[in-house]
Every structure is written in C-alpha cells, then in structure tokens.
Symmetry: C3
C-alpha cells in the first residue's frame, strides 16, 4: 500500500540495423536508471540484437535514407563495401560522442533487470535456435508481450 | 460495475511491405484472443494492407536492410526480379513455420471485431477510392485514431 | 479538482524522410486541436525536421519500398535524380490533396503549445549545434522524454 507501483515501459525492437538498435536499448536502460521497470520484445530483424556475437556486427545501409548525416547517391550507396564504410563512419561518430556500444547497453540492461524477450515466431521463421540467443533472454510470443504491455505506462514499437 | 472495462490496443500500420504488415495484424488478433479489444489505423503505405486484393501482393525489398536473413549486396538487391525473389523466399519461410498469411489474419481480425480504420488523408493523397478497401473497414482521420487511443492501454506505431 | 487532467500524447520522431516526418506532426497538431497536450522528441534522423531551413528539404527515396504509390524498379530508383523526382511527385500529391506542408504543421505545433524536444545525444553524435534548431525547441535526453511519457495516454515511436 505504501509501496507504489513502478512506472513500466514496454518496447518492441523490430529493426536489426545499427542505428535503430539503439532506441530500445537506450530507452530501457534509461527507464531502469529512473527506477521504472522495462521489457523489450525482440522480433523480426530486431532479434539479431540479442543473438550471440551479433550486436557488434549490426550494420547501417547508406541507401534509401536521404536523411543520413553522410548522404551518398543511391547508386554509390549500392556499391559493395559502402554498407561497411557507412557502418564504420557511424560507429566512429558514436564513439567520438562517447555513446556506449550496443554490447555495453545490453549488459547494463541485463544487469539492471530489463526483461528481454525473444520472439518465438521469429526463431521459427528464420530457423534460429533459442540457444543462439544471449544469456538472460526468455522466449515468448505476442501474448507474452501484450500481457506485460497491458499494464505499461509507455509502449513503443521501434 | 461488476463488468470490468476490457484492455484496449490501438495500433497504427504505416508500412506496406510484406514483413512490416505482420506486426499490427498479429498483435491485434492476439489481443482479441486474449479478450482485449483492438483497432488498427491504416495510413500511408500501410493502407495497401486493406486494399482489395492487395495484401497477397505485398513485397519485401532485399535492399537497404543488412539485417535480412538472406542478405544480398545492395547492388545485387537492385537487380530487377530480386524483390520478387526475396518476397517468394520470405513467404516460403513463413509457410514452413506455419505462420498464417496476411489474408488469413485479416479475416480473423474482421471476424474477431478488430476495428479497421482506413486513413482518409491517405486515400485523398494517393487517389484511392474508399470502395477499393476490403469490406468491414471504416474511413477516418487522425482524430478518429486519437479518440480511440486516448483510452487505450497499449498504443504502437508500426 | 473540477479541472480534469488533459489527455496527453507523447511522440518520438526518428525518421527524417518527407513521408515519415508527417505522422508525428499530424498527430501532435490534431491532439492539440482536440484539447489534448502533446510533445515530440526528435531523435536520430528525425532531428532534421526541426533543423532551421531543413524541413522543406526533406526527401523521400524511391528505393527499397515496393509499397510506394509510384513504384519503380530498385535499379531505376538508384539512378541519380530519382530521389529528387520522387520527392517532387509526393509533394505534388500532398498539395493536390490540400495537405499542409511540414513547415505549416510545425508552425501550428509551436503556436499550439506542442512541446518540441531535440535529442541531445543526436546533436552530439551528428555534430549539430543547438542553435541550428528552430525557435521554440528545447534540448533534452531520453530521460526528458520518459518523464513526460510516463504520464501520457498515447505513446508512439515513429
């Protein structure tokens, strides 16, 4: 009774690019630091964020995004090697601004008690074994997410 | 009084690709199965999901998404025919994992009472007639969505 | 006591393309018109929406989106000039349907009291000065957003 319920943040991570892997991890770890509770449901390409040894290999494509800080013509962006180059550039910009790596953020999330849920259907569709996911991850479905999110104060699909 | 209000899920579907058409339909149909109520507001490219005879023609582009399960160099992904090939591959993976088709999910949504709202502004901008939308769809605007979402427990923009 | 709390809409704008800049601005200005309160947190590419003189230069790429109303083969979409052409076409379609420009919507948002928050980390990573943002914008972080969103009724990540 004197114990107030914590604010709750329920996130879905559906993208597997270097840039879009950041928002759910930053929001969840910030929530924890603010004494809220948080969960992330990793689905579709977002599942790559919690595959063992994968998060440091996520890339960003210099294509079809005219809003990139280092825009290149699409024909140039399609040249082999440009995805790797754009990824290296973005990682450099992140590092220079002292932004934590995805691996660091994941570690903080696990240690801080963020609930990490890998999507069962995505594992099935992409033929990935649950054992390929990092430690501390549970496996569940849309119902697992909705049960948690139904009592959340902030719900976001990234 | 003894009757508790159902939990409510308010979704926006803004993408018209095969992969990103799934999350709103899976979440809405799962919500219904969990005795929650749900609505989906179809806007921008997402409107294609509820255009007559369109959902089975949605595609996935093998481009600018280095996180795809079958990544190809962007220069290869741009070759004519590669979008069709990636679409066929993804549909095959879905089928093998016994995932329902978009058409099946839409049918379940309509029968289960999910409120489907087509965006009036999108119809106007893209020059689509309301009659081109599947049966059981109403037409509305951002205000229609916000009126519903203001009392929702889960709100997600896909 | 007789004063009821207004419904609150908390949005994140993470995309910097012409098409995806619309949803947060339309939702926020509609919310204000419905006597709700609203805030938008501009992060990653979305920060371009509130950079001085930038919103009228946002583009849409005719690539990797097979759901576009004017789809072109990806190989054609990669040809220099096609991004500009697709942007011109979409702006023409918007204008013909009497949709306000991004600049008009931003003005309505500022005048209507929508809280506009530029992401500090994005400024740091992309090397943008706070002075490059339009007037009426405050600068903050994920914690600023979450503090506001924790008491919101509608939360969406665009």
């Amino acid at each position: 009774m004197s114990e107030e319920r914590k604010k709750r943040v329920a996130l879905i991570a559906s993208k597997g690019t270097l840039d879009m892997a950041y928002p759910p991890l930053i929001l969840a770890t910030t929530a924890i630091a603010m004494d809220m509770e948080a969960a992330i449901f990793f689905t579709f390409y977002g599942l790559n964020i919690i595959r063992k040894g994968r998060n440091e290999r996520l890339q960003v494509a210099p294509l079809a995004n005219p809003a990139m800080p280092m825009p290149v013509p699409n024909l140039v962006g399609a040249i082999p090697g440009m995805t790797a180059m754009a990824t290296t550039m973005m990682k450099g910009m992140m590092k220079k601004a002292h932004v934590a790596t995805l691996g660091d953020l994941l570690e903080v999330a696990v240690e801080g008690g963020v609930r990490l849920i890998g999507c069962q259907m995505t594992l099935d569709v992409f033929g990935i074994a649950a054992g390929d996911l990092i430690d501390g991850v549970e496996v569940g479905g849309a119902a697992t997410f909705l049960s948690y999110a139904a009592d959340a104060d902030v719900t976001l699909f990234v």
